[in-house]
């Protein structure tokens, strides 16, 4: 069924057709509508889930952890400060190997109180052991939730999918909502390997000495490595059933491009337009949309930029004291592989400032007119 819905509602529908069994969430702008609609689904009997009202995001994630430990499919959604409050338990969920799915609406961190988008909230959780997907469209949001459960439940690591505040969360687009029975064929019932139960009791998360902790981390990384292939397969299987796929890193006119723009989130759709226009003008520009950020598909990225002359990374985030975070990831990915490839790191659109086609044009022009970057951080649009 096709519906014109906001990104937030796409999240709710995604959680519904995935048959989430436990939803524990705390409202926060701009995520609130997600929770509202899910609570209505539960109240109306459209979704047979336990909806737990909690007093904080910390408790929301704690509830999801408990639920997931019993083998239930657990879902939550949050944003910015809410995600930050969850931080401790994000680690817990990952180290506890619990396949929880979380939707985070990207919102800038305060103060400088903001409800508008940027990626610093989710990127601050980079090292917690969660898979991260950055979505470009409402359809992709919905699909990524279904895929997220599919991947997570195979590898026992949680998934965070990320959508931009307002540009996606409050913007309506046509979205195909798949039939729940069809989703069932793609996403079977979760059968937990390790389950908290009274019949066969185990304690989870107990004291683990130096004898074993190290290996737990080692196995986590091992799984993360495998997750790339599993995510790829999940996307392919998704395509066979639903006729859509999103890839891990999408290549858009990039194979023969001299300049490749590396983007994520809703900036990708703007960039797509700009690339089309530049191509029609005969300029050799392409785009890579990084959808999967954790684990980072390093080899896929290297392959995608094999023939490029320049790479321009657009970061709607900043690791203060270093630079763009995607930029960091990409420079380190490329280190020792193509030392001849100049990589430009652009910062744009922080705190929800529009990244318009003109901004992208400015970035392209900058990259085209410089052989190598003058600085590690190239600020675009800052009022100096």
């Amino acid at each position: 069924m096709k519906k014109v819905i906001t990104g937030n509602y796409a999240v709710s529908y995604g959680a519904m057709v995935s048959r989430s069994q436990v939803i524990a969430a705390y409202p926060i702008t701009p995520q609130t509508q997600i929770v509202e609609l899910l609570s209505e689904f539960c109240a109306d009997g459209l979704l047979d889930a336990k909806f737990i009202k909690v007093e904080s995001e910390h408790s929301a994630m704690a509830s999801c952890i408990g639920a997931s430990a019993t083998g239930a499919r657990a879902f939550t959604a949050t944003s910015a400060h809410g995600l930050a409050l969850m931080h401790e338990l994000l680690h817990w969920a990952a180290l506890g190997r619990l396949p929880i799915v979380l939707a985070n609406v990207n919102r800038a961190m305060g103060p400088g109180w903001s409800i508008w988008t940027d990626q610093n909230d989710s990127l601050s959780q980079r090292d917690t052991g969660w898979l991260q997907f950055y979505c470009e469209s409402n359809q992709e949001i919905l699909d990524t939730i279904i895929q997220g459960f599919k991947i997570s439940e195979q590898i026992l690591l949680p998934t965070m999918l990320v959508l931009d505040a307002f540009f996606l969360s409050h913007t309506s687009e046509p979205v195909d909502i798949p039939d729940i029975e069809v989703v069932d064929t793609y996403l079977p019932k979760y059968n937990a390997t390790y389950r908290l139960s009274t019949e066969n009791p185990y304690a989870f998360g107990g004291l683990t000495g130096p004898d074993h902790y190290f290996e737990i981390r080692y196995k986590m990384q091992e799984t993360m490595d495998q997750a790339i292939e599993i995510a790829r397969q999940a996307d392919e299987e998704f395509e066979r059933i639903f006729g859509r796929s999103h890839g891990l890193i999408e290549r858009y006119y990039s194979d023969d491009a001299e300049l490749i723009l590396v983007v994520s989130g809703s900036i990708a759709s703007t960039t797509r337009d700009v690339v089309d226009q530049l191509r029609s003008e005969g300029r050799n520009v392409g785009m890579l949309k990084v959808r999967m950020f954790r684990p980072f598909p390093r080899q896929e990225f290297r392959n995608a930029v094999r023939r490029a002359k320049k790479v321009a990374v657009i970061d709607r985030n900043i690791c203060v004291g270093f630079g763009g975070i995607f930029y960091q990831e990409i420079t380190s990915t490329m280190y020792g592989h193509r030392d001849d490839l100049p990589i430009f790191g652009f910062i744009a659109g922080l705190g929800g400032r529009d990244v318009t086609p003109n901004v992208i044009h400015e970035i392209v022009t900058h990259a085209e007119t410089h052989d190598t970057p003058d600085t590690e951080i190239i600020w675009i649009g800052v009022k100096r």
């Binding site: 180290l95 506890g96 190997r97 026992l156 937990a192 390997t193 390790y194 389950r195 066969n200 185990y202 304690a203 989870f204 998360g205 107990g206 683990t208 004898d211 074993h212 290996e215 737990i216 080692y218 196995k219 986590m220 091992e222 799984t223």
Partner: protein, 593 residues
């Protein structure tokens, strides 16, 4: 998830990451880690004495009764009382219930209505034809020794009841034509209906007690007929009214209040005047005044001290006043004025309270020139009773008119025991019952050649002289009897404030016109609610708190009995169980290293 394949009590060490689960999960157990060795204090289950139990002179398991009543187990509650004495129906009506004064709940909101609950339980037993619990064949086997009990008041009857349970066939000799002592001939039926008393005495008779009424023991009989008895219990009460020692006292209109009650209760016709004065402030005075009222005369009570010093049960005084009986406090008669041998007036003097006397009460002293005269036709004296002991031989020591006894009821003569009002002890039914129990234990140990003092000490409850017959006869240890739970020991977090349920208020206007029982009892639902308010001080009722709170899963429910086990191999001695026990049924002990 597959069943465990790891050894349960050993440390699991994985050799490679491949063998390991991906997360921290207890595939084995931590039982190998005997964390109990870290402990320096240990929790123990130790039931303690609830203050109500300690305060009950009759030695009832008051808390146990509340526990059973809360669950509606009234039969068990009745039997629990009958382990101690056969008079719950009586005591549920006439006891002065010091248990309620001691009740820790009183410091929180209001004490439990223990007295009203007991009455319900007593009536339940009678209404359902329950039979008193018997002892095992072994404990209660027939015994041949001859025991005589003089006086069928509560002391004598309770002693006889327990001796009969132990297998003796005691002979009770009673001067009156009916058994019961003051319960039968003193307390009027509007407070204690005769059928209740008779039904409970019937249980005693059925137990194998031989009661011979109309058998006053005199010295002759004592020396001859009771010569070859192995043990004698003297429980003859105190029935001799003290004199006023004022001029005019010999007039025919001046009578003993107690004698009046005895006559009334034995159905004799008594002529009294229209205007009656009752002198005194005890139970006899109150009962006399209220009976006079019911016979249709005007009555006034004259008492030489103030309300606070009245020895009568406060509830009785309250009821008398409710019925409209005036009490002249701080006044005493100094002369009875007669006209042609008939009483016409009484001259009194007002008193004031001076220094405390030997009883601790402030001594009343006359106020000079405060004399006043009141018109009366009959004067009842109720200023105290003394035992009538002239039938005793001189080798039985007496002092201040009472028989001298040891803590175990032994008189100065071997084989002769005494108790109740005939000895120097508080004049209450509960104390009489308690002394009957003490004597039964002393007689049994004496006849069986055992160490009375040692055994008596082992059956004490608390520090106030109460004894547990259940413990004596069945060896059942209710609790660490010497430790009494204080209010501070209760964890109030677990108790909600709740109003006390009292007896329904009687219709006084109707009540004062007849000898029908004034108060009605509590309905069953009120009883369960009321006993549910009980803190169950010091006695585990399996509330599960310790089990729930133990962070080390070191507490488990006993599978075969009441209570919990502590796994000392793993208990770290954190003390949470003891802290969270609402009722001080657990304690911490320092670990003996």
């Amino acid at each position: 998830m597959k069943k465990r394949k790891y050894p349960k009590d050993e440390i699991i060490t994985f050799k490679s990451a491949n063998e390991m689960p991906p997360l921290a999960v207890s595939l084995g157990s931590m039982r190998w880690n005997k964390t109990g060795s870290w402990r320096y204090i240990r929790p123990i289950y130790e039931n303690k004495t609830p203050p109500c139990d300690e305060a009950c002179p009759a030695g009832e398991d008051v808390e146990g009764v509340q526990y059973l009543c809360e669950q509606g187990k009234f039969e068990d509650a009745w039997k629990l009382i009958l382990e101690e004495h056969p008079f719950p129906g009586v005591q549920g009506r006439v006891c002065y219930h010091p248990c309620e004064e001691a009740c820790n709940r009183g410091h929180y909101d209001e004490a439990i209505s223990i007295h009203a609950v007991e009455r319900f339980v007593g009536d339940y037993g009678l209404n359902h034809g329950l039979i008193p619990p018997r002892l095992s064949q072994e404990r209660g086997h027939k015994k041949s020794e001859k025991i005589a009990i003089i006086g069928a008041g509560p002391a004598g009857l309770v002693c006889a009841y327990h001796l009969a349970r132990m297998g003796y066939t005691p002979l009770v000799l009673e001067a009156h034509p009916v058994p019961g002592g003051i319960l039968r001939v003193g307390i009027p039926s509007y407070r204690l209906p005769k059928d209740i008393l008779e039904a409970e005495i019937e249980h005693i008779i059925k137990m194998g007690v031989d009661i011979q009424t109309d058998s006053r023991v005199d010295r002759d009989l004592l020396l001859k007929d009771l010569k070859d008895f192995n043990a004698i219990y003297v429980a003859t009460g105190a029935h001799e009214s003290r004199n006023l020692n004022v001029p005019g006292e010999d007039a025919s209109g001046v009578m003993s209040g107690l004698q009046f009650l005895i006559d009334l209760n034995l159905g004799k016709k008594i002529a009294i005047g229209k205007k009656v004065a009752v002198i005194g402030g005890g139970n006899t005075a109150m009962d006399t005044a209220r009976s006079v009222l019911r016979l249709g005369s005007e009555v006034v009570v004259v008492y030489r001290r103030s309300r606070a010093e009245m020895p009568a049960i406060p509830a009785e005084v309250e009821e008398a006043e409710h019925e409209g009986i005036p009490i002249h406090f701080l006044a005493t008669p100094i002369r009875v004025i007669t006209d042609q041998e008939r009483v016409v007036q009484m001259e009194c003097v007002k008193m004031e309270l001076g220094e405390p006397d030997e009883s601790g009460r402030r001594r009343p002293v006359p106020v000079e020139g405060s004399n006043f005269i009141m018109d009366v036709e009959t004067v009842f004296t109720a200023i105290g009773e003394s035992p009538q002991l002239s039938f005793l031989t001189e080798d039985i020591q007496t002092e201040w008119g009472s028989i001298v006894v040891s803590d175990h009821g032994e008189t100065s003569k071997k084989g002769i025991f005494a108790g109740g009002d005939a000895v120097d002890q508080p004049r209450t039914v509960a104390h009489a019952i308690g002394s009957g129990k003490v004597a039964a234990i002393a007689i049994d140990t004496f006849l069986r050649g055992k160490d009375t003092a040692k055994i008596a000490a082992s059956v004490q409850i608390g520090q106030k002289g109460s004894v547990s017959m259940e413990r004596y006869l069945r060896g059942e240890i209710r609790y660490n009897a010497s430790k009494v739970v204080r209010f501070e020991d209760i964890n109030l977090a677990y108790f909600e404030h709740k109003d006390r349920v009292d007896l329904p208020r009687a219709d006084i206007e109707k009540a004062k016109q007849s000898f029908v029982e004034v108060n009605s009892g509590l309905p069953e639902s009120a009883v369960t609610t009321e006993s549910g308010r009980c803190f169950n001080c010091g006695v585990c009722n399996m509330c599960e708190n310790c089990w729930v709170f133990c962070p080390d899963i070191s507490i488990s429910r006993k599978t075969d009995a009441f209570g919990y086990d502590i796994d000392y191999d793993h208990c770290k001695g954190c003390g949470i169980c003891v802290e969270e026990c609402p009722r001080e049924a657990m304690s911490l002990e320092e670990e003996q290293k």
